[in-house]
Each structure stands twice: as C-alpha cells, then as structure tokens.
C-alpha cells in the first residue's frame, strides 16, 4: 500500500514539475501557444490535487507520521502558497505587467523547490 501511494504521490509531484518547467520557458521568453499553457495549468490542477490527497493518505498510512507533524503542516502551507501564486500568474498572464508575472512565477518555483526540500528532509519528523 505504501509503495502504491508513494508512486501516485510522485507522479502527481512530477505533474507539478511539468507546470513549473513550462511556465519557466514562458518567463524566459519562449513563444508558446495558449494550448501549451492550458496543458501546464491542467497539470497543476491534477498534480496539485494528487500530491495533496496521496500525500495526506501516505502520512495517515504510516504509524510514525502524524497529520499534525511540523513537516506535513509546512508542506501543506507551501502547497497553498504555490497554488495561490499559480492562480495569480494565470490571471495576470497576457497583461501589461510582465515583470510582476515573471516574479510571481519564480517565487512559485522557489516555493515548489522548498516543498521538495521539506519532503526529503522532513524537518521535525
């Protein structure tokens, strides 16, 4: 059960990485279509839900972790910040303030890397 949940959690996390890489290409000046950004946004929708659901399921499945462990609460907080930034990037994309959109994207990227750091080091576990 643990390994199956971990597999789906990992696949979901890789979908988040797809979104980050595709938006990074846009932030670096690549010309992309609205279809490409649609794919990137749907990857975040599915990956975001997947990481959250399978992540919490994993934590509940293992006896040595508790839902209220610091690293799990930190991960959920980072997930909320990253998702909020992503929605803001989606709304403002195509507007006049390109630098603000790019800045928000790079902050989201740092938050997602911080999520990965939290998952690997598990502070407070």
């Amino acid at each position: 059960m643990y390994h199956t949940l971990l597999f789906f959690h990992m696949i979901a996390a890789f979908l988040l990485a797809v979104t980050i890489v595709m938006y990074s290409a846009v932030a670096l000046g690549a010309t992309t279509s609205s279809r490409a950004l649609f794919v990137a946004d749907r990857c975040w929708d599915v990956g975001g839900l997947g990481t959250l659901i399978f992540g919490i399921w994993l934590a509940l499945n293992l006896d040595q972790y508790d839902f209220f462990d610091f690293w799990i609460l930190l991960a959920i907080a980072l997930w909320l910040v990253a998702t909020g930034l992503g929605q803001s990037v989606q709304r403002r994309l195509g507007g006049e303030d390109v630098s603000a959109v790019n800045a928000m994207h790079w902050i989201r990227t740092i938050v997602v890397i911080a999520l990965l750091v939290t998952m690997v080091w598990k502070p407070g576990a």
Partner: protein
C-alpha cells in the same frame, strides 16, 4: 517494510534531493518538448531538449550515482531489480536525447515543420517520457 522504506540516514538526503530535482526537470522538459514539437514550434522543442532535457538528465543521473554509492547499492549481490530498471532506463536515454536533439536542431535550422526529423524527435521524446514513467514506478514501488 514500509516503515523501513520511509526512514533513511540524513546524509543520503542531499543526494536524493539532487536526483529527484534532476528527474523532475527532465520530465517537465520532456513534456514541454512534446507539446512544442506537436505544435510545430521547432525552435522551442530544440531549445527545451538542449537546455532542459539534457541538463535534467545529467543532474538526475549524477544524483542517482551519488545516492547509489552512499547506499552501496552497486555492491549488493544481486543488485536489486529496481536499481537495474533505473540504470537500464536512464543510460540508453542519453543516446535518445542526443538523437532527438540533433533531429530537432536540424529540423529547426531547415524550417521543416512536417518532415521526418520533427517526427523522429517527437516519437523519441514520447518514448523517453514513457521510460521515465517506468523509472518513477520502479523507484517508488521498488519491485524485487
């Protein structure tokens, strides 16, 4: 067993982080290449292969070797099958990356949006994405 799988020494963490970060960049860039080539955006497809897929593979493979040495996985006899799957997926992938990059680069240079070069690069990238998914399955489920 699942408890054992969830616990590892702290000094393995950095190598694992580098390995996963590289793998995520690799998979993200592979999807970007597929979308770009499918839309006949040859320039973006080529650049994503050269500046995303290749560095992502390098970091992922370097991280894999690093953590394998820390865990002394290569010294085990027999080597666990999930490690074998990882190596047999990742090592040939470098050749596919090089071929796909050359094909996409030539297609972009010649502005041939419908030629066999774009198709070859696209098919190879799809194969690499499927192979990467198999590797993620092997790394997370660790079949014996």
């Amino acid at each position: 067993m699942s408890v054992l799988a969830a616990i590892r020494p702290d000094d393995w963490n950095l190598a694992l982080f580098v390995h996963i970060l590289g793998a995520m960049a690799l998979v993200g860039a592979l999807v970007l290449v597929i979308v770009a080539l499918a839309e006949r955006n040859l320039r973006l497809g080529y650049r994503a292969l050269l500046l995303g897929v290749l560095p992502g593979w390098t970091v992922m493979r370097g991280g894999a070797q690093w953590i394998a040495e820390k865990e002394k996985l290569d010294d085990l006899d027999p080597v666990p099958s999930w490690v074998d799957i990882g190596y047999s997926v990742s090592d040939p992938m470098l050749l596919l990356i090089i071929i796909a990059t050359v094909c996409a680069g030539l297609a972009a240079r010649r502005q041939r949006q419908d030629g066999p070069l774009r198709g070859t690069a696209l098919v190879l990238t799809v194969i690499m994405l499927v192979a990467a998914s198999v590797a993620v399955w092997a790394m997370s489920t660790k079949p014996t």
